[in-house]
């Protein structure tokens, strides 16, 4: 990118400026906030998956010393709106999801009563004194059974468990399937996952009665979207609401929602005249923060004997749980849009049915719909390679668009911005020492060991996005201000919460202004400083938000040239600018710097006529297209025959997210994403029993990867700039997870292939692998005597 300086921050692997405060424990999270007169909320949640509420007795709780109030749905719901969903889908059936349950609860964890008290302990004790009389109703937790005629209904008044149907059809699917030499078929279950951010949700609401205004501190990814949505729920105008997002200990999509607790605490702060805090417990988090994935797909891929892929068909069911959070119905449609992966498929038919069950709602979780697509198509490519006896890398290469074919229109209607899938694959093979790895597998197999190599070549959709495809606009806002002292304040409408943009945005602005990073502060996560923003999700912040900053910097430089010209006695056109200094062409010795300009701009005594004081500019950037990062992950694993344990022998990730502002941040994002995948592929699954009871309510039952499970990564990259924004950056927040799921799974299935095992659904828990191995090897032992007889 063009840079106004020789600082050369862009591309440097600089340590994050955020880290010292986080490492030292001096950062401020929501739970660290202390306000005078603060009250604490605790929530009584339904232990039933489906039940009628016959009565609630709150007297004893109300009489507990220290309790400020006990509220049921009858008390609160009439004064508040419904939980908003931004997805517009024709024919979508949506239950009216109120703050607290009305006369019916429909998932375990459904909020029923809220207690506000002087301390969290009193509030919790008061919950034990509340008696709720439930009359249990039949529940349904299996989405396929939910579609059967005699199934219990999640919402009986809707008359069906179908929330919506969605069809994406393009091209001559039937004709191409008729031309196919083979049809590769596989049913794949994408298990339900619990995001389990290390910091659960939490909020503090404070109402200022004099001004009639409300401040809400909340652990969220989307303060700006909340400011847009909250007025409709609590009846306070948008311009009287300030949302502040302090430090956030992990979001991964699970904090991309307006939750009842945020609205309810706001309402209660107004009602009680005292600030109200609510901090989610781990068990609460497991049952009442959105879940991820949960799709079942029957996939068919039409292929020619030479490995050419022709078309893909999918019939999928998305189990969306019992109600709609912000983007619940949209997420599985992203699976449909990305189902072609990196391949030149000519036609697609993706039939999706969204189904209500008596479980927590699903929504965006790391990758949000794309990991399901990549996992499905990459498993199918491996199955096709195996059936046709082709090399998994070669069948992929054969079906990639060539670099010259970009922008590439997919069968699903997307326009992939730029790509060189061949180069990423080649680089990953080099880093993995592919041929040596194949020999290693051969030797291991000869020794009777279960050694497998897995490959995934992925593409994903990032940099969301053009406003016409987004519910509330896909632009981003940014402001850059040269202070009077010459320091620089950057305000971004994105809301970094772990991605590191306090560092990378300072690098971008520092370079372009020619100002040292130490002089730059990046403000984020406060709607009083960043008036507008569309926040952080879908790996969009740098591609869209970074561009808004560049636009603002350029406006400041243009104005500074006018001011410098006036001070130096020349027109702006004759002013040169570099390294943070301005001079009249040919007279670099007589230059003035930002410090002088800052002083002049605000003291405003020597301004030319018609030039406003100050040096500040803000911009909205509207992207014309999304970005499509891609890459190749190669994994080698060994499966222990006796225990079913999976050991990662080698992990190579090559990701192309365009030019990297800070390679250290990129690597961190990739590593974190792969760790999420190790969890999904090897351990994690959210389990409800047939009565709708959540059986994975804490870490003892919901295993997640630990440090010892994380292998050494070999991380590489290629650089293919995106034409969607001036820096050419693409985004990398979800790439790791999207690329890693199929690579790890393919490696494990490759290890088991010699035993005749074709496919196992995730998670590939040791017990599941051990049983599959036992079944095949026991069968072999039994067959032997028969063949001898």
């Amino acid at each position: 990118m063009k840079s106004g300086t020789s600082n050369g921050y862009f591309g440097q692997a600089l340590k994050r400026v955020e880290d010292p405060r986080l490492i030292k424990g001096i950062a401020t999270y929501v739970d660290d906030l202390r306000l005078p007169g603060l009250l604490h909320a605790a929530i009584l949640r339904s232990p039933h998956a489906h039940a009628r509420i016959l009565g609630v007795k709150t007297e004893a709780a109300k009489n507990l010393p220290g309790v400020a109030g006990v509220f049921t749905g009858t008390d609160i719901n009439p004064a508040c709106g419904l939980v908003p969903c931004a997805s517009s889908m024709p024919g979508l059936k949506a239950p009216r999801h109120t703050m607290l349950a009305g006369d019916r609860v429909y998932f375990v964890g459904h909020p029923v009563v809220v207690v506000v008290a002087a301390s969290p302990a009193i509030a919790r004790d008061a919950l034990d004194l509340i008696e709720v009389d439930y009359d249990s109703l039949p529940a349904v937790t299996n989405p396929e059974k939910a579609l059967e005629k005699d199934s219990p209904l999640t919402h009986p008044d809707q008359g069906t468990n179908v929330a919506f149907t969605w069809l994406l059809a393009n091209g001559d699917v039937d004709g191409l399937f008729a031309q196919a030499d083979r049809v590769i078929k596989q049913r794949i279950v994408h298990q339900r996952l619990t995001p389990m951010a290390i910091e659960p949700r939490g909020c503090v609401a404070s109402y200022h009665a004099g001004e009639g205004s409300l401040t809400l501190w909340t652990s969220t990814q989307i303060p700006h979207l909340l400011r847009t949505l909250l007025p409709g729920v609590i009846g306070v105008a948008e311009n009287k609401i300030r949302i502040i997002t302090p430090e956030v200990g992990g979001g991964f999509g699970s904090k991309l929602d307006l939750y009842v607790e945020e609205a309810m605490c706001s309402h209660l702060a107004m009602r009680l005249g005292s600030p109200v805090k609510w901090i989610e417990g781990r068990r609460e988090n497991a049952m009442s923060t959105i879940h991820g994935r949960d799709q079942i797909g029957d996939y068919e891929l039409a292929v020619k004997n030479d490995g050419t892929v022709l078309a893909i068909k999918a019939r999928t069911i998305a189990d969306i749980g019992s109600y709609l959070q912000l983007l619940t119905p949209t997420i599985p449609t992203l699976t449909g849009l990305m189902i072609c992966g990196c391949y030149k498929l000519k036609a697609v038919r993706f039939e999706l049915t969204g189904v209500y069950t008596n479980k927590m709602a699903t929504d965006a979780y790391r990758g949000a719909g794309r990991p399901e697509a990549t996992y499905a198509i990459e498993r199918l490519m491996d199955l096709a390679a195996a059936e046709l006896g082709l090399d998994p890398a070669k069948i992929r290469q054969k079906n990639f668009p060539k670099p010259g074919e970009f922008p590439f229109q997919t069968a699903t209607g997307l326009m992939y911005d730029s790509g060189n899938y061949q180069r990423a694959l080649k680089k990953a093979q080099e880093l993995a020492r592919w041929d040596a790895l194949l020999r290693q597998r051969e030797q291991a197999r000869q020794a009777g060991r279960l050694f497998g190599i897995g490959l995934s070549t992925y593409v994903e959709i990032c940099g969301l996005g053009p406003s016409k495809i987004m519910a509330a606009g896909g632009w981003e806002w940014g402001c850059v201000r040269l202070e009077m002292s010459g320091k620089v304040t950057v305000i971004t409408g994105t809301t970094p919460h772990g991605q590191g943009q306090e560092t990378s945005f300072a690098q971008i602005v520092g370079d372009r202004l020619g100002v040292p990073m130490e002089d730059i502060v990046v403000l984020r996560g406060d709607t009083a400083s960043a008036h507008y923003g569309r926040d952080t999700y879908g790996s969009r912040a740098t591609a869209v938000g970074g561009t808004a900053l560049i636009m603002s910097v350029d406006k400041i430089i243009a104005k500074a040239k006018i001011l410098a010209g006036a001070l130096l006695g020349a027109s702006a056109k004759k002013i040169d600018f570099r390294n943070g200094r301005f001079w009249v062409k040919g007279k670099p010795k007589n230059a003035i710097d930002w410090k002088r300009l800052g002083q002049e701009a605000y003291e405003a005594k020597n301004l030319p006529a018609n030039l406003e004081p100050g040096l500040e500019a803000s911009s909205f950037f509207e992207p014309k297209n999304c970005t499509y990062p891609f890459g190749t992950h190669i994994v080698a694993v060994e499966v222990e025959r006796e225990t079913g344990d999976v050991k990662i022998v080698k992990y190579v990730a090559v990701d192309d997210c365009g030019p990297q502002v800070n390679p250290l941040l990129v690597e961190g994002q990739v590593q974190g994403g792969i760790a999420h995948s190790l969890g999904q592929v090897l351990f994690e699954r959210t389990v409800y029993d047939e009565n709708g009871q959540l059986l994975t309510g804490e870490f003892t039952d919901y295993p997640m990867p630990r440090a010892r499970d994380i292998p050494e990564y070999v991380i590489g990259s290629t650089v293919t700039p995106s034409p969607s924004n001036p820096m050419g950056v693409k985004g990398v927040g979800e790439a790791g997870t999207i690329g890693a799921n199929p690579a790890i799974a393919n490696a494990v299935m490759d290890a088991l292939a010699p035993l005749g095992i074709r496919h196992l659904d995730l998670p590939l828990l040791p017990e599941k692998l051990w049983r599959a191995i036992e079944e095949k090897t026991a069968g072999r032992k039994m067959k032997k005597p028969r063949s001898q007889s």
Binding site: P47, D689, G697, E698
Partner: protein
């Protein structure tokens, strides 16, 4: 979840059956039972304090008896709830004479919900068996010595 078991009690079925119908006896034998009162014909209310795995809590419940055929069998319906969740179940109890003694067989179909299910599901079966074992041990001792507890 099905929980079943068989216990031998050194007393005649008629005697065992009678004692099983007396709240005061039962309260002594039921682990963590703080209160057990007859509220009507074959109906009782109970208050229990129990630990299931790491989850300790108080439960209030109703017990109803049906299919009462002394001294052979009866069916017990239990519905209880507390801070950590709820328990719902039905248990068939059969008594058979084995010489001087009684062989008692129970088979219960139990459903648990809430926190007990979420974090106690791994241990609940073992805990239920252990509690049943504790109950019959105490109950046997009481019946065998037939020391009527003080009311």
């Amino acid at each position: 979840m099905i929980i079943q078991g068989t216990h031998t009690i050194a007393a005649a079925p008629a005697h065992v059956f009678d004692r099983l119908m007396e709240p005061a006896f039962l309260q002594q034998a039921i682990p963590g039972c703080e209160k057990l009162e007859k509220t009507g014909e074959d109906e009782y209310i109970a208050h229990l304090k129990l630990g299931i795995g790491s989850i300790k809590g108080s439960y209030a419940g109703k017990v109803r008896l049906t299919d009462r055929q002394p001294p052979h069998k009866f069916t017990m319906h239990l519905q209880g709830s507390g801070g950590p969740g709820f328990v719902k179940g039905t248990s068939a109890i059969e008594l058979k004479a084995e010489g001087e003694a009684t062989e008692l067989h129970y088979s219960a179909n139990v459903q648990v919900g809430g926190l007990i299910a979420a974090v106690g599901s791994r241990v609940i079966e073992a805990v239920a068996k252990k509690l049943a074992g504790e109950f019959f041990l105490k109950f046997s001792a009481i019946v065998e010595h037939d020391v009527k507890p003080e009311r």
